[in-house]
Symmetry: C2
Subunit: 187 residues, 2 copies
């Protein structure tokens, strides 16, 4: 086996999250992000990176809060549009007909039609380079009723989250369950 | 549509990465991590979180470097084992028969048999809580020959990266390509 260097200095697949924020005037905005991930279990926290030029960057700093709404594969057009357009030029909720819901827990809106929602308060802001990373404490996770088992555990097959392949610029769906963690490798 | 709060304060699917490090004696170690993600494009950088109790935490601080080797679905047993055992008690490479390769670019080993490799130098260490986040600059990305197109773009269908569902503790495979980014949502 031998390996070749890739000119794409990025991961092979990254999750697609739609980040909800309010601007200074209180207008809800949504921005698609793939430079994201969990970063701590206690406090439960996620990390989301944005360029300084974006409205999301400005909004998160102003409101100290954001949400992450996870789109199903059937919202691929809307999720992609949220990453193309800027909330400075247009109202992305109005453009797509999706519904902003004001979080009762944090100062940010989420997307009603998306099945999996994370509500966050800003904990830290990390300067890295082109991107600034925002670390948000997870205040609540909400799952669409019917897409959650007992205790709110998400049913991945029905939520069907999207992934982004940076080099090729394609989206992928989640595949089948293939094993149990902390179990498959036991000896 | 109505949503229910989940008692699982985590994302629905997280990527599974196997983090390679050297200990003080130079013994290669591998640790499975899902609290990971891209965090910057320039410099290209990834974020990986570990608890302070882990050998990976100690090794990254000592060596200022780590790799991320992305396992294919057919290495699910090894990847799971790397998250169960501690390199303080055993040699996880020897236990599984996988091969450590010394990176020529950073002071860390990667897994020869895994198809997609990220080599990183430590840029920043962020204290969040139970977990510490390590931000690493991507020095190189290597893809198994035959699993990469021209210019080293990874063929996702053949690499078949693993994902982890935190609440249920199950692994998922990547699914099919379902659309083109910065294109599917164009108006």
């Amino acid at each position: 086996m031998s390996k070749v260097s890739s000119r794409f200095k990025a991961v092979c697949l990254a999750p697609v999250w739609v980040i909800g924020t309010y601007d200074r005037a209180g207008k809800p905005n949504v921005s698609t992000a793939a430079w994201v991930g969990m970063c701590c279990s206690d406090p439960p926290a996620v990390a989301v990176s944005f360029r300084k030029a974006t409205l999301a960057y400005e909004n998160i700093l102003n409101r100290k809060a954001f949400t992450a709404s996870i789109p199903s594969g059937n919202y691929i057009k809307e999720a992609d549009y949220f990453g193309i357009a800027s909330g400075r030029d247009t109202d992305k909720f109005a453009d797509t007909g999706l519904t902003p819901v004001k979080s009762e827990l944090v100062d940010a809106p989420y997307v009603q039609e998306f099945p999996f929602i994370i509500e966050c308060k800003l904990l830290q802001q990390i300067e890295i380079g082109l991107h600034t990373q925002f670390i948000g404490e997870i205040i609540d996770v909400k799952v669409e009723e019917g897409l959650a088992e007992e205790k709110g555990r998400p049913i991945i097959e029905q939520i069907s989250p999207l992934f982004f392949a940076p080099g090729g610029g394609f989206y992928y769906a989640a595949g089948p369950q293939i094993g149990k963690a902390f179990s498959a490798g036991k000896r």
